[in-house]
Amino acid sequence: MLDYITSYLSSNTTPGQAGNVFWALVYIMIVFGGISVAVMAMNWLERKALAHFQIRLGPMRVGPHGLLQPIADAIKLMTKEDIVPAEADKFVFWIAPLIILCASFAVYIVVPFGPTHAITDLNIGILFMLGVSSLSVLGVVMAGWASNSHYPLIGALRSSAQMVSYEVAMGLAVVSAIVMTSLHGLGPYGVGVGTSGTGTLSMIGIVQAQQEQHVWFLFKFFPLGFIAFGIFAIAMVAETNRAPFDLPEAESELTAGFHTEYSGLRWSLFMLGEYAAMIAVSSIAVTLWLGGWYRPFPNTLTGDTWDLVFSLFPGLTFLALAAIAFVGVRRMPKHPYFRVQTIGLAGFGAVLGLIGLILFVPPVRDRIQDIYWFIAKVAGFMYLYIWYRATFPRYRFDQLMKVGWKVLLPIGIGVLILTAILGVVL
């Protein structure tokens, strides 16, 4: 048994591929726990960042700088009364949030945080991701229908139309990236069929293809890769129902859209699903166009020195966060009332600093590299989501459809055709 556990450590594949159930379960727990924590952190960060965009302070009361706010919210939501409308279809009403949650969490099975840091590497990776993430629309429609109320129904119908339409543009953008994987420098995933020129759908394979072609697909066939990425970046915002495409839950029109009738824990499941889906689609974008887990310039800035420099980033990031926390401690009012908060913030900073120091230890440093760069890239997208939300007004429904079908779709087809032509010609 112990052998079974330790034998995986020396392998260089994902636990799913190695067929190691124990490590696969461990990875699943780590990833799902990590995502849950990330959603909570995102919750706090969004409220703080949005507040600062809007010259407010955001949560300040629960814990130093509101750090404990997500936990307080979670407790509040869990203890809140769970109202089921009398005329609702109880079973469908009950199961809808679960479907959304499952759909958005199942996607992480194939997200590659590193060459071996994924639960598994499916041969149909990206197809699986798109398919499973699109299942969440079912939950939305079911929630809207089961509430047996007008606003949720309109929200659900809007949402389904929106998600189905933007999936098309999204799919085209993804296909143009997949076409790029097939072009040259075939890795282990490209060969083996006897015919060269087949690409890969595997998430790990896509990242490796970028490594072998020495370019992020964002910059490949400039500006084609860039346009495809742009289409995806727009479509993914629409796909996750975030501003400026947040029509299904357009607050000012439909009160809260499909989850108007939900409350308490079930409502929090919707939120959990939404944020998890945001992180998931950002992971797709990072994997397909931004070189996945690779650090910037893995091919030009080579050598031990550069490796060392880049491997210091994770630790430095945490030290910087710790420094910010300590600046916050300095700026805390010197008043007995704030003593607990000051100590708490100092402790938090100390923990961050400690993590930062641990990340400098060479074995940890080398193992954490991939994950760090992946998460850093995803975090950039998360910031963009908040930025959009603070900046843009909301589209109207017909305009949204117009953008999806009349702008993104033709451009997507054009980019796909041009990519294929360039791939053959070059």
Partner: protein
Amino acid sequence: MTDRTMFDLKPTDPKPADDKYLSHLELGEPDKTFLDTNELVINMGPQHPATHGVLRVILKLDGEKVLGTECVIGYLHRGVEKIAENRTYTMFNPYVDRMDYVAAVSNGLGYCEAVEKLLNIEAPPRAKYIRVILTELNRLASHQLWLGTHALDIGAMTPLFYTFRDREEILKIFEKYCGARLTTHAFRIGGCQYETYEGFERDVIKFLDFVPPKIDEYEELLTTNRIWLERTKNVGVISRADAIALGVTGPVLRASGVKWDLRKAQPYAAYSDFDFEIPIGANGDTYDRYTVRMEEMRQSLRIIRQAVEKIPEGPIMAKVPKVMKPPVGEIYHSIEAPKGELGYFIVSDGSTQPYRVRIRPPSFVNLQALDIMVRGALVADVIAVIGTLDIVLGEVDR
């Protein structure tokens, strides 16, 4: 979900007698639609985040398309006009502040001037100038609040906080001047009760220098934003003729291209002394109303600056009898409130209390235009149009 609810109405069905609201709806034969399924009748409000208070709009929808609307008002009715009949002229003055609570100063100005006209007295010039300054500041505050909520309705969250930040400066001046921020009760019949405080001019000038960059900031966020343009251009269009026919006033009328502003047309207070433009729009759509109001903010600043520079010295209160007993008669006096023409029709029977007060609130009249503006538009446009009409339910319901 195609179940019949009490609001579902098919065009061929006999109208249910018990539904007194829908029976007014004269929608005619709706267009035959894609599926010819039942129309959806939904109830927007009175507890809805975007109806600016307690407006209830019954929407008859074909999918997302609006076939007709019916406004149901009165949820905030406090009987202001009836109260007036049991109060003396002075006692009624604070009540008018509670109508358009975001532009309380304008309400007070209109009422005071109306009663002054009835009593045949005139406020001294200094009082008139103070009135102009405060009213224009109030117009600015009202427009800022409108902009924030309107943008929020359309989905842009951020301008709300910017406008509230800057509106705060105005409210501070009000607070310093008369002690209240919202329901100011700033003016009295015959002038002003309070002399300006020490440093009033300085505060106002400081504000005048402070706010133009802020207005540019709002415009930066919205005016050229593509989504904002798409959401507001050609939305809620009301033609010049329709606007005049419906009695729409204020920025809504001016955006349709009618150069009608009571400050120029029949100058009251000290407005004839100042030099300012009346911005007008061309298409009468939501975007024009937006630009008109933005420009009005700048013009207000211009007026305030002139007023502060030219403010005369002198008394602030005319000679007013202790017990006001206006001669028998009636008077109609209207001013250009931020939202449009605010008129007071007062009938006096010679006693200390008015025999009848009728108020013509701009929001109430402008709200009539909602149906014309949103027919055939989408649900989201209803929100945008309610926002752009800049209604205050306290004033609609009185």
